[in-house]
Symmetry: D2
Subunit: 336 residues, 4 copies
C-alpha cells in the first residue's frame, strides 16, 4: 500500500485525482493540503462525502513526508517550483501537475510564463510523463512532470505521423476546443456560467503557453524541429478536449495507411484507441482514453483526437505515471 498526498487539493484536477486514487487497489490517501482552506475535504468536495475522512491542512514538506510516500503536486505554476525542491529534499517522490518542470530550457520557461525559473537544474533531466511515448524513463525517478491537457492531445495525435515521417514537421495547425473545467476553479468573470454558456470563442491566439511544450516534445519524439500554430477555444461543456489538426503530408500515404501507422505506433498501449469514426469528446468523458482518427482531405492530413482534459489530460495520466513509477499495472485504478 502506497501512502499518497495531494498538495493543493481544492481544484477540479485534485478532485478527479481523489476519485481515481480512492478506487486504486494499492493506494491509501494520507494527506491533503490547501493554502487557503481548512476543514474536512467533503466541505470543499461534497461528492466525496463518506469516501474519505481527511482534513485539508497547511502542511510543510517534512510533515507531508512523514505521512506519505508519493506526493501529487496540484499547485499552480511558480508555487509548484517553490514547493517541489522541498518535497524532494524531504524524501518524497513527486508527480507535478503544473507546468513548472515540463520545459527543458529555463529561458523558454521565462519567456512564456513570465517568471525566472528558480529550480533550473532540474529542467531537462525531469522526465516528461507521457507514458505512451516515454514510459521507459519513468520507473525509478523521484520527480515526473505531468503533461498539459492540450499538449497531450496534440502530441498523441501527431507523434506517430511525425515519427513515421508521414507529415511535414512545420506549418501544422492545431485547432483545439476545450471544456471550461480546464480553466480551473478560481473565481474569474470570464469563467462564470453566464459568460461561457451558449458561447464559443478562441482565446490566447498565437500565445498559449502549451505551444512551446507541444513543439518541444514533438521535436523530441520525431527527431525534427516541429512548429505549430495552436488555437485553443473555450467550449460550453464541463470537460473534454477535441483537437482538429491539419498537417501537410510528405508523401502519398492513404488514409488507411495512416490509420495503420497510428495503430502500429500505439500497439499495446492500453489507453489509446485509434478509431475509424469521428470521435466525440463524450466518447471518452470520465475515462483515461485518448481516441483519434485520421482523414485525408484535399491534400492535407487531418487528425481528429479527443480526451477528457481532467483525466487523460491531467489526473488520469498522473496516476498512469504513478503506476509506472511504483511498478503497478499501468491501468490500475484507471479502467472504469
Amino acid at each position: 500500500m502506497i501512502r499518497v498526498a495531494i498538495q493543493g487539493a481544492t481544484g477540479y484536477t485534485a478532485l478527479e485525482l481523489l476519485r481515481i486514487l480512492l478506487r486504486h487497489p494499492e493506494v491509501r490517501v494520507a494527506a491533503l493540503t490547501s493554502r487557503t482552506e481548512t476543514g474536512h475535504v467533503s466541505e470543499v468536495h461534497p461528492s466525496l462525502t463518506g469516501r474519505l475522512d481527511l482534513k485539508l491542512e497547511n502542511l510543510s514538506a517534512e510533515q507531508l513526508a512523514e505521512r506519505a510516500d508519493v506526493c501529487f503536486c496540484c499547485l499552480p505554476h511558480v508555487a509548484s517550483m517553490e514547493s517541489i525542491p522541498k518535497l524532494l529534499s524531504a524524501g518524497l517522490k513527486v508527480i507535478d501537475l503544473s507546468a513548472d518542470y515540463r520545459l527543458n530550457d529555463p529561458a523558454v520557461y521565462e519567456q512564456w510564463y513570465g517568471h525566472v525559473h528558480t529550480d533550473p537544474t532540474r529542467l531537462g533531466s525531469t522526465p516528461y510523463g507521457l507514458p505512451e511515448l516515454f514510459a521507459a524513463r519513468i520507473p525509478g525517478q523521484s520527480l515526473i512532470a505531468n503533461p498539459g491537457c492540450y499538449t497531450s492531445t496534440a502530441i498523441l495525435a501527431l507523434a506517430p505521423l511525425l515519427a513515421g515521417g508521414y507529415v511535414e514537421p512545420t506549418g501544422i495547425i492545431i485547432d483545439a476546443k476545450s471544456g471550461v473545467s480546464g480553466a480551473g476553479r478560481a473565481p474569474k468573470v470570464n469563467f462564470l456560467y453566464s459568460e461561457c454558456n451558449e458561447s464559443i470563442s478562441a482565446y490566447s491566439v498565437g500565445n498559449h503557453r502549451h505551444t512551446p511544450e507541444i513543439e518541444q516534445v514533438l521535436s523530441q519524439a520525431s527527431g525534427q524541429k516541429v512548429d505549430v500554430i495552436f488555437t485553443p477555444h473555450l467550449t460550453p461543456m464541463d470537460r473534454g478536449i477535441l483537437a482538429t489538426i491539419y498537417a501537410t503530408p510528405t508523401g502519398t500515404a492513404t488514409q488507411a495507411e495512416l490509420l495503420a501507422a497510428m495503430r502500429t505506433y500505439y500497439a499495446g498501449k492500453p489507453f489509446v484507441r485509434i478509431v475509424e469514426h469521428l470521435p466525440k469528446t463524450k466518447d471518452v468523458s470520465g475515462t483515461n482514453y485518448f481516441d483519434a482518427t485520421v482523414r485525408v482531405v484535399r491534400g492535407k492530413v487531418l487528425v481528429l483526437a479527443v480526451l477528457d482534459n481532467l483525466i487523460k489530460g491531467a489526473a488520469g495520466v498522473a496516476v498512469q505515471n504513478f503506476n509506472l513509477l511504483c511498478g503497478f499495472e499501468e491501468t490500475a485504478g484507471l479502467l472504469v
Copy 2:
C-alpha cells in the same frame, strides 16, 4: 425624446436594459456610470459594439441630472439607497432595480437585508412597479421600485387566484427554478460554469430575500395576509424562471374556471398570456411576456408560470414602468 441614464451599467440587467432602450423609439441613452470600470461601453459589453458610443463614467448625481431626465438605477441594494436620494434631489426621475425601495417596512428590510434603511421615509410611499397590478399608481411619480424577478413570477401567478378568493392565502408553496444570470456578474466560485453546469440545486431554503416581498405585495393585492414557502433553485441555463406553485383551493372551481378567472383578471394586459399548455421558459426567452397556466391536481391548485428573469423579471418591466411614467405606449420598445 427622453434622455436616459443607467447607473451601474456593467451587469447583465443593465446590458438587457440597454438592448431595449436602444430600440425604444422615444429614448436617447445619454449616460452610463460605473464605480469600477472606465472606457467604452463596448469593452464591457462587446455585443453593443456599433450600437452606442458612450463611455462608462463615475458621475455625480448633478452630472447625471445635467445629461438625463430619467435614471435607471442598477446598483446593488444598499448602494442604491445611498445614491437615490441624491438623484432625486438633483431632479431626476428614478427607476430603481434594486430591492431597496420595494418593502414598506424598514424593520422588515433590516431583518432580511441586514442593513438599517437609510432612507426610510420613502418606504411605503414609493410605488411598486408591477404594472399588471399597479399601473395606475405609476404616472407622475419620481421614484419607482422595480420588482424582483422571482417576486414578479410568483405575484403574477397568484394574484388573480388570491384576489378572486379561489385559493387559501396561507400554506402556499412556491417552488421556483431560475437560470444563472439571476446571480449577477460578480466573480464567485458558486457561479462558475463548472459549478453550475450539469447540476441543479436548491439554495436559500427558507430564507430567500424575495419572500417578504412576495408576501407583502400579494397581501396588498388580495386584502388578506398571505404567507408562502418559497424555494429557489439554481438551474443550468442562462435565463428564465419557472415557478411551480401549489395552493389549496377554497372551493370547487374547475381548472377551466380558474383559467377563465386568470384571463379575466389580466384582460387587456399586453404582456400576460394565460395558456392551456404547460409553459417552458424558452417560450418567453428574450421577451417581456409572462406565461402561465393552471392545473387542478388531487385537491390542490397548481400554477405553472414562466418569465425571462432579465426582461420581464428586471429590465423589461423597468421599461414598462418607464413607459407608464412618461406617458408612452406600455409596449414601446418591448414587443420583439
Copy 3:
C-alpha cells in the same frame, strides 16, 4: 464468475449498466440483444471501444440462457412483460429495469400504462428492488423489479420520515427535476437539443406513471396509505434528479431530530448519505449515491434529495440488486 446478458442494449441505461458490469470483479458480460441493431456494440456505444468484444444480436430466451446466468432486461414496458416469462422459463434469473413488474395490482397497471398486464400472477410476488428498504427479500429470487428513477428518489427521501411517523402520509408534494437522459434515446422532437437546452418545464402534471409506484411503496414501507402530488420537470442537463419535497409534520420534531432519524434509518446503508448541506445533483453524478437533507420551514418539513437517474435511479441499483441476488458485496462494482 457470473455470466450476464443485457436484453435491449442500445439505450442509455444499458450503456451505464455495461460500464458498471465491465468493472465488476465477478461478472463476465456474455450477450447483448437488440431488436433493431446488429453489429458490434461499439458501433452503437463508441465509448465502449476496446472494452467489450460483443455484437448486438436478436437472441431467443433459450439462446440467452445458454450463454448467461443472469439477464438484465432493459426493454420498454410491455415488451418487457412479453419477454420475461420466456427468460424465466429458460432458467435465467432476471432483473427487469422496466415498469412491468413494479406495481402489485394489474388493474392499477392497466389504468396508468394503458395495457392489460399479460403476466399478472407475478405482480405482487415479485420483489421491488430497492435494497435500502427491501434487501432481505432479494436473495434467492428469480425476478427482481428494479425501481423507477423518480420513484427511488422520492421513496428514499420519504420512507424514514413516514415510517417514523414524523410526517403526515397525505398531501405530500414532490417537485422533481430530472436531466434529459431520463427520456431515453428514441428520436422525439421534444427531446432534441434545441428544444431542451436553455429551457425548463413541468410535464405529465398530475398523471406521471411513477405516481402509483411511489404511493404503493411508501404505503408499504410506512404501513399507512400515502398519497402524493408528483410534478416532474425536464431540466437542461444530461443526468441527475433533484426532488424538493414538502410534507406536513405530525409533531414538533426539530430539523436536527429529523436528520438524526434519517441517519438512523439508513445506518449501514453504503449508498445513502444524509448530509447537512443542500445537495446538488452534481455531488452524485456518475455515482450510486443518494444524498439528502431535511429542513423545517414555516411549519413544513422539506426534504431535498438527489441521485443520478441513470445509476442509483437505474443501472446502479440494478447491480446492487444483482449483488444481493448473487451473494456478492452490495457495493461490488459500484464504488468509483
Copy 4:
C-alpha cells in the same frame, strides 16, 4: 405594407423569421404553410402566442399568391426546387432559404446533393443573397437564393482578404463550430439533447455541402479560383457559428493593415463589425451582426468570425434581402 407568406413554417429558421417579420414596420404576415401540421401557429411555436393569429395550412402556389406578395421558402432542398417554379409562375417574389438555387452549376448541385436539379435554367442567373457583397443585384429580382449559415460566415470573413490579394486563394482552412439549431428540427438520434450536450465533434469532414458554395462565391468575389478545407463541428449550444480560418499571406501586411483592409471593404455595411478583440458567438446571439477580427500568427493569417446561424446565417439575412428587394431600409426590422 407588404403581405408575406412563409412556406414551411414549422422549423427553427421559420420561427426566427416570424419573430423578425412581426416587428418589421412594413410587413404583414399573411400565410403560413406546412405539409404535415395543421392548427394554429402557436401550437407549434408557443412563443408566438398572442403575436400572430394564423393557422398552418397546406396551400397551393395560387392560394399563396392570392394572399401574399413575397414568399419566404423554408422548405428543405429538393422540396424547394419543386415548389419555387410554381410560386414564381403564380406571381410571387420568392426568397429561398434552401440550398437549391445557390450553386451555379447543375452538375455541381447533383454531385453534392445527390439529386438531379429539376430547375437548372434558373441556376447561375439567380442572385446569391449575400447583401454585403451583392446588394446591387438584388433589387427588382423575383427569386433570391439566401446563403447557407456556414457559408456566410466563411465568405464574409475571407472576401476582403481574397479580393484585396492579401491571402493565397488555395489551401485555406476553415474550422467552423456551430450550435445545434443548425441541424434543424427533424427528430434524429444524433441531435437529441443527451447526444449533443457535453460533447463536441467534427462531422462531414471533407464532404460538407457548404464547401462548393463557399468556393464558388469566394472565387466570384475575388476573381480567382478559391479552394478550401472546411471542417464543421457540432457544438453544445443552441445557436451561433464561430469560424477559425487559417490562410497563407501573399505579402507582409501587418495585422493592423489587414484589419484596416477589412474595415474599408465593409465601410457602410450596417451588419458587419470588424473588431480588435476575439469575438464570442454570444456577442452576436439574437442579432443580425457578423463580427470578425484578424490575427497574424507565425506566418499565417487567422480570421476569427462569428454570427448567429439562425439570424445573420438564415432568417436575418433573408429579411435583409427582402428589404433590398422591396426598397426598404436595409436594417428595417433587424436592429434589436
